[in-house]
């Protein structure tokens, strides 16, 4: 269970988040939607500690995350895949995956866990020894998500995983994400501009606009609300 209450973040005079409150249920996928500049990315960065929150709280599994350094938040089970994935281009696919597991597992468990990731994303297995710079956009995104999963996080923060991907690749990725959440161990916050595909796999959705929550409801209810869709989601 992720509980965010009255979270505010500002950059100088610009406030990016103005008292955002939301809950994400254990094991569910919650889509975070909204236009450019709505504060979606800032929300994720505040949860993972990359930006400092001015006020408010982020509680995950009854632990306050605001104020903890990024490395501690990671160790509390939070994996954040930033926009574009930020795979490390000059390392191989296998090294990227190792890096995701190093803080948590010794050598043997790490290799076992990486083998499990290769089962989820078979395309990565065939490219294990290649530099990440040689991957396609879709493969990079798989690597970024695989690297985030390698440490068995309980909260997965995904920032625009579909950005720049072909529709077919996006659909495949969404299917994998839906599969992952079936186990019920991973709570996912999915930030997307591509609202339609995010809503197709999410059970809950939150719409942000200019740093505030406009509405939060079940994904189905939001997908059915034509007014809301036209105003904030662009479809």
């Amino acid at each position: 269970m992720l509980e965010i209450s009255e979270l505010s973040v500002s950059f100088g005079a610009v406030s990016a988040l103005k008292g955002v409150s939301l809950e994400a249920r254990q094991g569910s996928i919650t889509a975070v939607l909204g236009a450019n500049g709505a504060g979606k990315t800032t929300l994720l960065r505040a949860i993972s500690g990359l930006v400092k929150a001015q006020s408010g709280s982020v509680r995950f599994s009854d632990r306050e995350l605001v104020g903890l350094p990024v490395e501690r938040i990671v160790r509390a089970g939070v994996s954040h895949v930033p926009e574009g994935g930020s795979v490390i281009a000059e390392m191989t696919v296998a090294e990227n995956l190792q890096l995701g597991a190093v803080w948590r597992y010794g050598r043997r468990d790490r290799l076992r866990r990486i083998a499990e990731i290769y089962e989820i994303f078979p395309a990565l297995a065939t490219r294990a020894k290649q530099h990440a710079s040689t991957l396609s956009g879709g493969e990079r995104q798989m690597l970024a998500i695989g690297r985030a999963l390698v440490s068995r996080p309980s909260l997965l923060l995904l920032d625009e995983p579909s950005l720049g991907l072909a529709p077919l690749v996006t659909a495949g990725l969404m299917a994998v994400l839906a599969d992952l959440s079936k186990g019920g161990d991973i709570t996912t916050l999915l930030v997307e501009q591509n609202a339609r595909s995010a809503l197709s796999i999410a059970s809950w959705a939150v719409v942000l606009n200019l740093g505030s929550v406009v509405v939060s409801d079940t994904a189905a209810a939001i997908a059915d609300d034509a007014d809301l869709r036209h105003h904030f989601l662009g479809f």
Binding site: I88, E90, V102, W103, S151
Partner: protein, 292 residues
């Protein structure tokens, strides 16, 4: 022909010394984007500490180990106390800080040990080896230089290639934010990177001191040559630092051997200018379109 081979051998051992200082510069530059102008002065300080330990009559190898250990501590302390506060400031701040440290350390060493020229002992004999019936310009100590620097290079390569510490250090250098999101304690690894660089420097100090006059400024010119080597190698490639060191050492040996020793510093500056004009990213730099 004999002159040529003697000059070449001298160039190799000089070049490997430049390589070890250049390696320190590169380790720091690629992790923190800072040129450590105090790299030579830090090495000078640890060598003077070794000098004092030697004065206690404990023998060469304990002093050798003490110098490397002091390098480890000094590098970490410098990073924590001086570099961390300017890490995310404009790059000129760090330049001024490392320059200031250079002046501070040389002044400090002058105050403690005096500015006079001294001699520093070598680990092994410095008289030329005899091959067949002729003596060549390569001594037991030169062999030691080659072995020590190559051991350092191999250790660094093994560290980066095959250990998870090296993996984390590379991640911290290439993509600090992505590394933090994967649980890597980036700031601690940057401190460690400075420590390792200072150990490489401390080794270089111990190798240079017996071959030159030993005073608080004895590493100044070496730093210029090592900087040339690092720029030739591309500033962020450890392999480039080693090859750049060898290239610089050989080139300066030929300049010194055939044209006169006084021209060596000018030779280094000419090389620096030529490299910066023709291939400013160096020979082994990573492609610049890398932050993805």
């Amino acid at each position: 022909m004999r002159l040529f081979w003697n000059i070449t051998l001298g160039g190799v051992s000089e070049g490997l010394i430049f390589a070890s200082v250049a390696l320190g510069l590169v380790l720091i530059f690629r992790a923190t984007n800072i040129i450590n102008f105090a790299q030579g002065a830090m090495a000078m300080l640890t060598t003077f500490i070794a000098f004092s330990v030697l004065g206690k009559g404990v023998g060469y190898w304990p002093a050798f180990v003490v110098a490397l250990a002091c390098g480890l501590v000094l590098g970490g302390v410098v990073q924590l106390v001086l570099i961390r506060p300017v890490q995310n400031k404009p790059p000129l701040n760090a330049v001024i800080v490392t320059f200031g440290l250079l002046i501070l350390l040389e002044g400090l060493a002058g105050a403690i040990w005096g500015n006079s020229n001294r001699g520093f002992p070598a680990a092994f004999s410095q008289s030329g080896l005899v091959v067949g019936h002729t003596s060549i310009a390569f001594s037991h100590f030169d062999v030691f230089i080659v072995v020590a620097v190559l051991a350092l290079v191999v250790l660094v390569a093994l560290l980066f290639r095959f250990t998870t510490l090296g993996l984390r250090m590379r991640a911290a250098a290439f993509a600090p934010e992505a590394a933090r999101l994967l649980g890597v304690r980036v700031s601690w690894l940057l401190t460690l990177g400075w420590s390792f660089a200072a150990v490489a420097g401390a080794l270089a100090g111990l190798l240079v001191a017996p071959t030159s006059v030993f005073s608080p400024t004895f590493m100044d010119l070496i730093l210029v040559y090592a900087f040339t080597a690092a720029v030739i190698g591309g500033l962020d490639s450890p392999l480039g630092a080693v090859i750049g060191g060898l290239v610089t050492g050989l080139a300066l040996a030929y300049v010194g051997g055939y044209l006169g020793g006084a021209l060596e510093p000018i030779g280094a500056l000419v090389m620096l200018i030529v490299v910066l004009m023709i291939r400013p990213e160096g020979l082994f730099a990573r492609p610049t379109a890398r932050r993805v």
